[in-house]
Symmetry: C2
Subunit: 406 residues, 2 copies
Amino acid sequence: MKGDPPLRLHVFDLNCWAIRYLSKRRQERMRLIGDMLHREDFDLVLLQEVWSEQDYSDLKVKLGGCYPFSHYFRSGVIGSGLCVFSRFPILDTLLYQYSLNGYPYMLQHGDWFCGKSVGLVIIKISGIIFNIYVTHLHAEYCREKDAYLPHRLVQAWELAQFIRHTSKAADVVLLGGDLNMHPEDVGIRLLRGWTGLQDAFVEATHFEGCEDGCTLVPNNCFTDKSEMLPFPLGIRIDYILYKAISSYMVKCELLKTTTGAAPGMDVPFSDHEAVMATLHIQRQEQAAGTTFGTAELTLADVVTEARTEVAVGLRVAQRQRYSSGRMAMLALLLLLLQAAATLGALVGLDAGQPFPKLSFCLLAFLAIGVLLLSTGLHLFHTMEVKMLRGTEEQMQMVLRALQECP
Amino acid sequence: MKGDPPLRLHVFDLNCWAIRYLSKRRQERMRLIGDMLHREDFDLVLLQEVWSEQDYSDLKVKLGGCYPFSHYFRSGVIGSGLCVFSRFPILDTLLYQYSLNGYPYMLQHGDWFCGKSVGLVIIKISGIIFNIYVTHLHAEYCREKDAYLPHRLVQAWELAQFIRHTSKAADVVLLGGDLNMHPEDVGIRLLRGWTGLQDAFVEATHFEGCEDGCTLVPNNCFTDKSEMLPFPLGIRIDYILYKAISSYMVKCELLKTTTGAAPGMDVPFSDHEAVMATLHIQRQEQAAGTTFGTAELTLADVVTEARTEVAVGLRVAQRQRYSSGRMAMLALLLLLLQAAATLGALVGLDAGQPFPKLSFCLLAFLAIGVLLLSTGLHLFHTMEVKMLRGTEEQMQMVLRALQECP
């Protein structure tokens, strides 16, 4: 009923940057994060980049008293890095692993080895069903020439589709995570447009924290200052997004970010700033109608823009598939030639000096190595082409549906 | 309203066995399948093992007049093999790729290379929302010692979870596909118990076709007769399952299977028999209540049984992870020894005869090969362990929830 007292929900979101052996002062920072979460009274904690299950277990032990319910999402070789702590019982969970996530040979970036995913937990508070999503999309390593944009767009699209399809019985949808996209980027406009999620920073009545709500700031001692040069205030890539379905209304009363070092400490919690939202959830008598017309037009523009980028990625992937296929064929040809030469030598057909055995062997091993590697690459790019084409077609289908809308 | 005329839906499901270069008389059979679908008046066609996109495109061209809407699900290196043809507009689609699907080194089985998935298409007929799922689970190659059982159980679990989470706004849920499980197998009991889906064969008022509804029968000229020896009638592994949510009721009026060779032909459509269901969908005034009590108890038993099997798989995967890790360490040690010997020879420390160059090189290449291979295997089994453990924990969570049920 409209007269029901509003529900107030405190949500915490942080990319913890907890990579074993690589992240600076990891154990100390994880301890600080645990202490702070124990001290503060959040209802829901959404964490990313908790790559080590041991770190999660330590947090679980420490926070068992105040956040009795938690879930760690397992996926990929290294893991998804995603986990959730909650004051309220977790009724159900589901994980969706993105179909594209960078390249296995980009070892210096390493995203491919993580099972980048979106995790869903369902909780019920005072009869209100919450679908809580936590995710972490592919990083952006070079904004000027972003080779991963098509993959990140596929991820944003799959995230939006997953939310749309799984949230139909939810009263409130909440998404927290490191989306690795600036607020004006096409991926975030696509995600928000296609799901109807609202940005807590934009909607917040009060805001406290880094200017413009930035979550990667030059002030933080762990951020790479050279990467921050074009953005003197920093960038905003960590979000809390929400929407109410059915007959509920959500308002963001207060949004906060941390601002570098933790209070009284010389070390920040992470290289990212945490985002904290206080949300008001109130039942309303009539469900708000969807705004048609201009909204659909804007969405069609965004989907078209995203589709163009995915198509660019598709052409690159097709070229790479072709090159790797050609390389595999050349290596196979070389091997066949060597086999023929060996056979010739065996039956005494060669007239001149036989090949030096060592170089001959080395060449054969090189050819086998190139053949295996380029075949692997060819298979990988074949899969990439499939997924990019599939996404492009899905977007095309949505565009047709939007155009047919009255 | 209760007085609305019932909707009659004709559904066709077939594993087409259309592997390019491998499946016998593929093109001829695909043509026959297309002709038959064009002739008959199905509303919905769910196909599996259409591995070649060209075969799908040919079908699409042929069936464009009678099934104007279709979708091909792309995933993995080879594809998902799944596609849907429909007389009614497809409103939306989603694909979920299973996290485990056999082993990359089991080349003779090859399941790993297919992106085994479940595809969802949403259609609306006379105001009734249908969530249509099509899937194909990992094959069973040896029933006595089924090494893939834990993977198939993870798939059955993920399938059930995906259906539960995505079908909350549907009026009718329909699943068709080759589940590679006998009707009494734990996986199918888990899937049916956890989703509430009903088996069209069991529920059908009338049945025509192979005895016991078998879909892999010795009569079919393409089936392996030696594999069929313990099952003289054949086995039933292809299903049409359904349920009504909200205030609808579904009844299976007629279930049919093909029986070997297509009418008037010497060749069957596939090595599997097709399953065809005529469903009656009727609105009812009051939604049927869920039956609690004994149903929950049986479900708890099934989840416990499935969890035990997953735990067995987990132990095997842990052993394989350990073995491959140890092999990688040994290969690394050999390489280090060789490097030390080379270094020693270079600075003139070796007293006796230097190693024969060729064997030394061959040994080094062998060590590198073993190192790469066993590292790859170690990473793969690490991922396998993660997914098996994740599923086991999810099942544990469900068991706790079931036990807490009143």
